[in-house]
Each structure stands twice: as structure tokens, then as C-alpha cells.
Amino acid sequence: MDSQHQGTTQHQFMVDAGAAPAGPASSNGHRRPAMPAAEFHASSEKILAAINKVIDGKAEAAKLALTVLLAQGHLLVEDVPGVGKTMLAKTLARSIDCGVSRIQFTPDLLPSDVTGVSIYNQSSRQFEFRKGAVFANIVIGDEINRASAKTQSALLECMEEHQVTVDGQSYKLAEPFMVVATQNPIEMEGTYPLPEAQRDRFMARISMGYPDQASEIEMLETHQAASPLAEVTPVVTADDVAAMISAVQRVYVSQAVKEYTVALGHATRNSARLRLGASPRSLLQLLRAAKATAALDGRDFVLPDDVVAVAEPVLAHRIILERKAAGAGDTPQGIIRAILAELPVSRDATADSRRG
């Protein structure tokens, strides 16, 4: 739905945005009314406060998780065991009053465990579909790289198409729909690393990192008695989140920012240190994440700063380094930072039309 949105010209977008507040109906079918800015701000603050209460010292990660949720993307949390990957996913899910399911991926997990299976009903003498774990608003896929490639693919297909097809029958998934997958670093034992093509489906990858000293001390203190997760109560409803998503979709993207985004993509493709640059899909997701960032910042238009802010988590897991660059100790994050430092920002939309 929103991919069509991105493809429309700016003019149509404006007409869309103008017409939409009058009613939920639009050319794209069912659509919820956008949340007003003040309410949006309050809701996002509440969600972030709830997450930060559980996970100490990880405000950035929390904000990014919310950004991905509002941008209708999927989140990949990658880090060593025990730094709170699953905790983050669970907290985000619980702070929203919506359907949550959790899949613990193991090598013997089958695709039907994820998507659901048709079972023969003796009484009605018919096959009936039993929904799998994926039928929820937020799906937590724990240690996704422990499952076999086949099972991984089943989940990834759901992520992309927001629907499940079993026995020729398609079942729509709930909206909003977000997969938060966690994975251990690929070098660890018993893992099946996600191929590049499948990593590309995740909007952003974050790594939690170790908390700083003060946060860790506080964590030791507060998390002794009971799981802090138990205290988390939903602060917003699923409908609220849908309205917030709708508001994010209406964030305005100027020509200058589009040009900046495309220039960033081109720079990664032309970089001598990269074997594989950012794909067009990644740019699409980059811009969507930037829109969500702008909305969380209380703006109804995207700045180049928003693109810069999400460029690292959105692009770093998709690009592949040249062997020489990897040997020299470059990281994808470092290369993206270097590219951003050299990429000129078109400050004025009119400045370019004068040239030539």
C-alpha cells in the first residue's frame, strides 16, 4: 500500500494528503484517519517511556524500534546473548495493546509452525485452517538464525507480503504487522546465517550493545526481585498505532530530500570499498524510516538530518564490503559514515535548477 504511495508523484501525494482528513476512504481502500500531531507526540512519548522503564540506558534502540514500527518495517536485533534483545522486543509488544506472538526458532521448527496448517475437522468433515504464530500484530522471532533456511523463508515471505497462502487460500495478516527478529552474531555455533536477500527485508538492524556502568548497576538493583516485564501495561491500542502509521505516511518529502536519498544510494553503489551498494528497496525503506523519524521529532516534513539519522541502521546490514576493505578493518557503519560526511546536501530546492 505505501509502496504505491512512494511511487506517486509529489503532486498526487499532496492531493491525497489534502483529501484524506475528510474521511478514511481513499484511493488505496481502507485507511484510518491520521492521528493529530499533539496526540501523536503524547502517544510516542508514552511508548518510549514504557520501554525505557524496562530497559535501562537503551533509549536510542527503543526509539529506533518505534521508528521501524511506525514506518511499517521489520526490525532485526543482532547481538551476543544476554544483552536484552528479546526484552526489547517483548517490551515494545507489551506496551501496545495488540496481538503478540513469539516464535522460538529452533533447527527443527517447520514452516507450518509459523504460518499455520490446514487440519481435517472430523465433525465438519472439512479441512480448516489453524492460524500459525505469525497471525499477530507483533511477532517476535527469537534467534531466527537457528532455524533452517526453509522456515526462515516462510516467515520472510509473510513479512514481505503481509499475507499467508496455504493450500491455495490466502489469509491476510493483521495490521499493523511487525516482525522483531533477534539473532546471534553469525559466527556463533549452530546458526544458519540469513542470506543477503533475506536480510534486505528487514528495514533496520540494530545491535543492543552493552549498557553503560550506571545503567548496568541500576539494572542489577531493579531487576532483582521480579521481571520488570510484568509491570508493563499497554499504553496505546493497535488502532492508535494504525493512526500513527497513517500520520507518518502523510509526512511530506521534498524534492531536495528525495535527491539527497538517491544521491546517497548512488554513492554506496559507486564506492570503491563496497561490493554491493544500497538497493532501490533499501532507499525506499530508508525514506520511510526517515519519515517516521521526522514524525517522532514532531515535524510534518523530512529533513536530510532524518535520513542521516537512520541511514546507518537501515543500510549497514544490506551493503557488502569489498574483500580488501574488510581486510583493512572497515566496517559497513564506518563506510556509510564516511559517505555521509562527503555527500553534499542540496540545501535549497531551487538551487539546482539554476545550474547548467
Partner: protein, 830 residues
């Protein structure tokens, strides 16, 4: 594997691009008719302005090369622009076309393939330029259109075309491009006696309006929103400007010393470098006489007991609007060791020697006493005309010449003249051109001549009658009357006016007598040179003889007098101008009231006259101050030049500051005007000013910095700035406005609570914050040498190099990828 994927991505991108191409923004509109229309407008303007060069250059022969040159340059630039070449390339193309067309027109033989400049053509061009320099240096307008001067004119006009085009199109300052046309008009305005002329000015104005129109029609200024096109105060402002210019034009001439002719900018006679008495001394003579200070001082010492007239050149053709000397280049003879006149001289001659030092006097003609028999001690090659005995430099001027003239004086008496006057002039003795009466002679000249010489017998009597008539009380000597009466200059129509007004100066008296003598049947010509001048009090010893008295003449002694031909005696000078020079003894007239002239020789003795009173021979002309000679006269201009020079230097030093404050004032004014008019403005100007301000104080914005990052960097860079300072708050507000403007929804660009009215106040706060944050050195630099100004110029200048560097990098990348692709199969085989 990865290459395949890369290929797929490329295909995907290229597949997507046609769909995106539907959006109107991605396709640049073609240049259309713009280059051609602009080229035509510039050509009209420049060729039109060059029309006013007629009068600076003689005739119209120069116009064709000018049209060819301007046309070629304009066409080359238009073609390049139509092909969407980058701006720098268009300008370079124009310059190349200029070089080609100049080579093809002027240096075809020396150039490679007839139009490509080579070493030989450069050498030849240098020769031509040297000739042009000599022409400019030594001659006065109108100069003959020789190859050098026309090449120079074409080169300058071609450069003006490139300048106008560069200003009007890539720099988008069409109004400023009028400077180029003005530069063309300034030349005739300062050189031609009657200014630039209406036709040339009108043509230039039309061209300028066309340029403005083209620029407005095809490329309205894209930097500013369209709303600001017509400010309400425009009419008032233009009226004020026009009135101020008019008042300045009327008042300034009163303050300029020596300005007494024409309307201010075009009729200017202010020439701080002194006048050159050039190719056509008849034209400059009146101006020379009117100079307040004596320029071109010549000193001479003569063995003659009376001061002598120094003669430069003669005018002998009285046809045409403006008289000019005829050089007769075919019959001139080189070498001044022995000069033989073309007509027989009487046997009874007095030889005299005169030592002359010309000093700063610059002219192609050598001032010598008549009749020169030999001139020694000259530098350079000189030639003389047997008919007129005018001596002209072939490759030198009279500047800084020191020479000795041996001259012969026939013993002329009234009786001898009377006798010669009765014998009719024989044919063959003198060319017919000296007695030819011009065909378009005004009737008043003929009738006056007839009435004056009525009842007079021989030629000498006639000559005396004409001289008496001109020296009578009916005529008054005046330098100003011809200017006010509109007949300053020379020519037959001027002569008619003079005879009617009966007021003028030596040129008019001399030409009146010369023409009336011809009408009366006496061969005549006008000699141009110097009246005797005044003694300096010094003496000069020459060649073991007794010391000679030294005399000095300068521009105020410039003089013209008639020479009449009498058979057997040769050319005899007369003096019809009252109060100037001295009437020769033979021509002194009994009825002449004594004392009316300053003539020295009252008695009827021959010219070599041992009267020991040479000092009062030539009184300075009446309207001129007596003290204005020598160093006293040059003291004042020296001070003026020092003052003007220091003012200029000060202006040059202050110009970056003035320019910078001008830019700031313009931006703030536009910000204010926009917010007053529409309410919705672009904060882009305020942002631009903020960036320049930061750059002035050493915090330049990096191209990769977002506005927000720039603002944050500014805070970090200014040590004294706190986040809640007024200055930092202003920076954040300006940044926010600009972000909203640049990246926000176009419809939502509504006035944010009069924020833009505050823009100037905010910029002021930022400025004071930045000033506090820097040392006095930094403040000094920001005020007097603002880096923002220079970096802009540098950016413009370095643009082509950046482009080249980018191309090199791209080529390198391409080569590397090709190399890798070529190597890959080999690697696989291994």
C-alpha cells in the same frame, strides 16, 4: 555472483527510469530561442554602440570588420549555448571565436590555415598593436583606420561582447551588462569634440533594452520568487535616481576646471594627461588655446633678432566639412639634411639658425620656422613635403626632440610685394590646388570678399584689404564666442557663421583670409603652428656663437595664420588675427590704428630686424591668466592627482567591505519587502546571509552539512556561545525557518507569525554573537576582507577545475571496473 546482482540492479534502475521520466521535473527544458535572441540583442547593442566610433576613426571602413567580429563571436556563443554546453565552455568558445575571426580578418597570411593563431600571427599582431599604440599616442581624432587601430577596436568590441554575454546569461545580471555598452560609448564620448552622438547612443540603448527584454522573457531570475518582480516604490525610485543624475550632470561641469563645452558626461574637456597636438591640429587648436595651463611647452632660441613663428603643418584643401592637413605621402622625401622648396626662392635671403627643444610636445609634425632649409639633430626618420615643407615623423613623434633648424628668410618689402602682386601668377609654378576655390563656397564668403576687395588693384593690395577688414573694429577676438555660437571648429559652414557673427579666434581669422584670398585670385593656404611666445630670460650658447635668447611657447600660443603666394617671393605669411602674433612689416597698414594689435614691428624694415626689444613681442592672450605657466600651472593638478589617487586607493581597499555590506543590505531589503508585500517569503535569503556571516567569521558551512548540523557546528565553533544566547536562539530560528522553506510542504509555507520580519533583527543578533566570539583580528578580517566574498569568486573560478577532477575520478573508476571485468575470466580459469 555479485556482478550479476549488480547488473540486475542496474537493469531495475534503468527499467524504472522511463516511468520516472514522466515527472516534468526530471527533463530539463531545451534552451529554445533564448541563445539566438540573446545573441541578436547583444550584437545590436554592441554594433550600435560602435556606430558612435565614427569620428574617433575616420570614415566607415572599419565598420565591416567590426560587424564580422561581433557577429562571429555572438554566433559561436549562441551555437554552443544551443548545444547546452556548460557556461564556462560557452565563454571560452566566444574567446576562441574572437581569436579565429581576428586572425582570419587581419592576420590571414601569418595564421595557420588562415584562422588559427600561430607564433607568426602573434608577432604580427604585436606589430599591429604597436602601430595602434603609436596612433593612439600621437594622433588626434578622427584617426585614419589603419589595420592596427581597427584590430584593436575589433578585439575590444569582441571582448565586450563576451563580457556582456557572461554578465547577462551565466551570471544572470543582465542589468549590469550595460556596463559593457557604456565602456564602448565612453571612448567616443571623451574623444570626440561633440560627444558620443545621438545615433550611437540610441542604438546602444535599444540593444540594452533588447538584452534586458530577452533576459526577462526567457530566463526570469530564478533565484528569487516571482512575487518580488515589481516593487511598489519602483517608479519613485527611478524618478529620484534620474533626477539625481540630471542634477549631477548639470552641477558637476561647474566644479570641473576647464570644462566649458557640451553636456557633462559627453562633452568633457577634462584631460589630466595633457592634450596632444596631433594629426589634425586644426581641430585641437581651439582646445589648446582654451587650456588653463600651458601644456606642450616648447623652448627655442633663435639667432633672429625677432621671435619667430613655429610652423607645424599647412591646410591647403578647403573642401569638405572638416579641414585636415594633406600629407601627400607619395611626394614626400626622406631626410631633413637638406630641404628644398618646390617653388623658386628669391636670391636675396637671410639665413638664421634656431635651436628648438620640444619637451613634452607630442605631434607627428615638427614645429620649425619658415622656410626651413635644413634640420639637424633629429632622432628617427623624418620626411618633408616639397610643396608645403611640413616635416613629419615616419616612425617617431616630436616628443623630446632637440634639433637645430637652418631657415632662410627672403627679404620681403611692401614694394617687392606690390610689384609681385601685379604680375599675374604663371602657370606651372604652383599646383592648381593652392588656388582652387571650393565648390560649395557659401555665398556670404564670396560677397564679403567681393565687397572688401572692390576697387583694389593688385593682389598685394587685395591681401592688405582683407587683412585690414579682418583686423578692423568690426571683428573681435574671442575664444568662447564660437563655442557659444555653435561654430567652433573649422570648415566652410563655420567660416560663413564667423563672417556673420564677426567673433572668433585665429583659426577663423586665418581661414577667412585664406579662403577670401583664393576667391580674390591669390593662392593661399593656412599655416598651423605657434605664435612667437614669450622670452624665458635664459640664453643658450650654440656652436661658439654669441648666446641666443631663449623663448618658450606652449599650448596657449597655438596659432593659425594664412600664407599667400606671390610670384617670385614664395609663400608670405600675413596676420589677420587681432591681438595675436605680430603683423609683419610688409603687411603693416597705415590706416591700422596703432596699439590695436600687439604687433611689434611698426617700421617698414625687412624682417631680420635688429630692434632690441623682443621681450614684448607676443603678449599672452587676453582671456588667459598670466601666472598659469611653468611649474605654477602643474602644481595644482599634481595635488589633485595625489588626492584622486589616494581616494581611488581608499575606494579599492574599502571595496570588499562596501560590496559585502551592499550584498547584506540588498538581501535584508528583499526579505523586508517580501514580507511586507505577500507575507509569505523565502527565508532562503536570510539563510544565505547567515551562511556568509558565519563564513566571514571563519565558520564556513561544509557542503555535506545539513542546515541543522551547520547550526550545531556554529554553536560548537563559537566558544562564547551558549545554547540559550539570543544569538544562538536566532540561529536556531533562522535554521528552522529555512528548513521549513526548503524541505517543508510548499502549501505550508505560510507566514509563521511574522517571523520573517524578525529575520534582519535575528541576523543582527547572530552578528553580534559572532563578533564577541572572535579576536579583533577576526573582526577586522570580517569587516574589510570578508572571506564570503572571496570564496564566492573562488568557487566560480574553480568550477571548471572541479568538473575536470570529477571527470578524471569517474574515468579512473570506469577503467578500474573494466580492468577487473577483463581479469575475472582469467582468475576463474586459475
Amino acid at each position: 555472483m555479485s556482478t550479476q546482482r549488480g547488473g540486475a540492479a542496474v537493469r531495475e534502475r534503468s527499467g524504472a527510469s522511463p516511468a520516472r521520466g514522466v515527472a516534468p521535473r526530471s527533463r530539463r527544458p531545451g534552451p529554445g530561442a533564448y541563445p539566438w535572441a540573446m545573441a541578436a540583442a547583444i550584437a545590436v547593442g554592441v554594433i550600435g554602440a560602435s556606430l558612435s566610433l565614427n569620428g574617433v576613426l575616420r570614415g566607415w571602413a572599419w565598420l565591416f570588420p567590426v560587424i564580422i567580429t561581433v557577429g562571429a563571436v555572438v554566433l559561436a556563443m549562441a551555437v554552443l549555448r544551443a548545444m547546452r554546453a556548460p557556461a564556462v565552455l560557452v565563454t571560452l568558445g566566444g574567446l576562441t571565436a574572437l581569436a579565429f575571426i581576428l586572425c582570419n580578418t587581419f592576420l590571414r597570411k601569418e595564421s595557420i590555415a588562415g584562422f588559427i593563431p600561430g607564433p607568426a600571427s602573434v608577432k604580427q599582431a604585436f606589430v599591429l598593436f604597436t602601430r595602434a599604440g603609436e596612433t593612439v599616442y600621437a594622433e588626434t581624432a578622427p584617426v585614419a583606420p589603419n589595420a592596427g587601430i581597427v584590430l584593436l577596436s575589433c578585439l575590444c568590441l569582441g571582448l565586450v561582447v563576451v563580457l556582456i554575454d557572461t554578465l547577462a546569461v551565466p551570471l544572470a545580471m543582465p542589468a549590469t551588462s550595460g556596463l559593457g555598452l557604456l565602456a564602448v560609448l565612453v571612448v567616443p564620448a571623451t574623444i570626440k569634440p561633440q560627444g558620443a552622438g545621438l545615433a550611437g547612443f540610441l542604438a546602444a540603448a535599444i540593444g540594452f533594452i533588447l538584452i534586458l527584454g530577452c533576459a526577462q522573457w526567457f530566463a526570469p531570475d530564478s533565484r528569487l520568487p516571482q512575487g518580488a518582480g515589481r516593487a511598489p516604490g519602483q517608479l519613485r525610485r527611478s524618478v529620484t535616481l534620474g533626477a539625481a543624475a540630471l542634477i549631477a550632470g548639470l552641477l558637476l561641469p561647474l566644479a570641473v576646471p576647464g570644462f566649458d563645452q557640451g553636456t557633462f558626461p559627453v562633452g568633457s574637456r577634462l584631460n589630466p594627461w595633457g592634450t596632444t597636438n596631433g594629426l589634425n591640429p586644426m581641430i585641437t587648436l581651439g582646445n589648446n588655446l582654451r587650456t588653463p595651463s600651458g601644456d606642450g611647452r616648447i623652448t627655442y632660441a633663435t639667432s633672429s633678432s625677432t621671435p619667430v613663428y613655429l610652423r607645424s603643418v599647412t591646410i591647403d584643401r578647403f573642401e569638405g566639412e572638416s579641414w585636415a592637413p594633406d600629407d601627400r605621402p607619395s611626394s614626400r622625401q626622406l631626410g631633413t639634411g637638406q630641404i628644398v622648396p618646390g617653388h623658386p626662392l628669391p636670391e636675396d635671403l637671410v639665413r638664421e639658425q634656431t635651436v628648438i627643444d620640444t619637451g613634452q610636445f607630442t605631434s607627428p609634425y615638427l614645429p620649425v620656422p619658415y622656410t626651413p632649409a635644413a634640420v639637424n639633430g633629429l632622432n628617427g626618420r623624418w620626411s618633408w613635403d616639397p610643396l608645403t615643407l611640413s616635416i613629419r615623423g615616419e616612425d617617431v613623434t616630436s616628443r623630446n626632440q632637440h634639433y637645430t633648424v637652418t631657415s632662410v628668410f627672403p627679404r620681403i618689402t611692401a614694394a617687392a610685394l606690390s610689384q609681385a602682386g601685379t604680375t599675374p601668377s604663371r602657370d606651372g609654378g604652383l599646383p592648381e590646388e593652392f588656388s582652387r576655390v571650393p565648390g560649395n563656397l557659401p555665398e556670404v564668403v564670396r560677397s564679403t570678399a567681393a565687397s572688401v576687395t572692390a576697387g583694389v588693384g593688385n593682389n598685394f593690395e587685395k591681401a592688405l584689404a582683407i587683412q585690414r577688414y579682418l583686423r578692423s573694429g568690426e571683428f573681435t577676438y574671442s575664444l568662447q564666442a564660437p563655442v557659444q555660437g555653435g561654430y567652433d571648429g573649422n570648415g566652410l559652414s563655420v567660416l560663413a557663421d564667423f563672417l556673420a557673427q564677426k567673433s572668433g579666434y585665429c583659426v577663423h581669422f586665418a581661414s577667412a583670409m585664406a579662403v577670401m584670398s583664393r576667391v580674390s585670385g591669390i593662392p593661399s593656404r593656412i599655416a598651423v603652428g605657434y605664435a612667437p611666445g614669450h622670452p624665458t630670460g635664459n640664453t643658450i650658447a650654440v656652436g661658439g656663437r654669441e648666446p641666443l635668447n631663449e623663448f618658450a611657447v606652449d599650448a596657449r600660443d597655438a596659432h593659425a595664420w594664412p600664407e599667400l603666394y606671390f610670384e617670385g617671393l614664395g609663400w608670405v605669411p600675413f596676420e589677420p588675427t587681432p591681438s595675436r602674433g605680430s603683423v609683419p612689416g610688409y603687411a603693416a597698414d597705415a590706416p591700422l590704428p596703432p596699439g590695436s594689435g600687439s604687433n611689434l614691428n611698426e617700421d617698414d624694415v625687412p624682417l631680420p630686424n635688429p630692434t632690441p626689444q623682443p621681450s614684448t613681442s607676443a603678449l599672452p592672450p587676453a582671456p588667459l591668466p598670466e601666472a598659469g605657466q611653468g611649474s605654477g600651472g602643474s602644481g595644482l593638478p599634481g595635488a589633485v592627482f595625489i588626492l584622486a589617487g589616494s581616494l581611488f586607493a581608499a575606494a579599492l581597499l574599502a571595496s570588499p567591505r562596501l560590496l559585502r555590506s551592499g550584498i547584506r543590505a540588498r538581501r535584508l531589503r528583499e526579505v523586508r519587502a517580501q514580507s511586507a508585500e505577500t507575507g509569505a517569503v523565502s527565508p532562503a535569503l536570510a539563510w544565505l546571509e547567515l551562511q556568509d556571516l558565519a563564513r566571514d567569521y571563519g565558520h564556513a558551512a561544509q557542503p555535506s552539512e545539513t542546515p541543522r548540523a551547520f547550526a550545531a557546528g556554529l554553536q560548537a565553533a563559537v566558544p562564547s556561545a551558549h545554547a540559550d544566547d539570543a544569538g544562538m536562539r536566532a540561529v536556531r530560528a533562522l535554521t528552522g525557518d529555512f528548513e521549513r522553506h526548503s524541505y517543508g510542504r510548499p502549501a505550508a509555507d505560510a507566514p509563521a507569525g511574522g517571523a520573517n520580519r524578525l529575520a534582519s533583527a535575528r541576523l543582527g543578533e547572530v552578528r553580534s554573537m559572532l563578533r564577541q566570539g572572535t579576536t579583533w583580528l577576526g573582526r577586522l578580517r570580517a569587516d574589510w576582507f570578508p572571506p564570503s566574498l572571496f570564496s564566492r569568486g573562488f568557487r566560480t573560478a574553480s568550477a571548471p577545475f572541479r568538473r575536470i577532477a570529477r571527470g578524471v575520478v569517474r574515468a579512473g573508476n570506469w577503467l578500474r571496473s573494466t580492468w577487473r571485468r577483463a581479469l575475472r575470466p582469467l582468475r576463474r580459469e586459475n
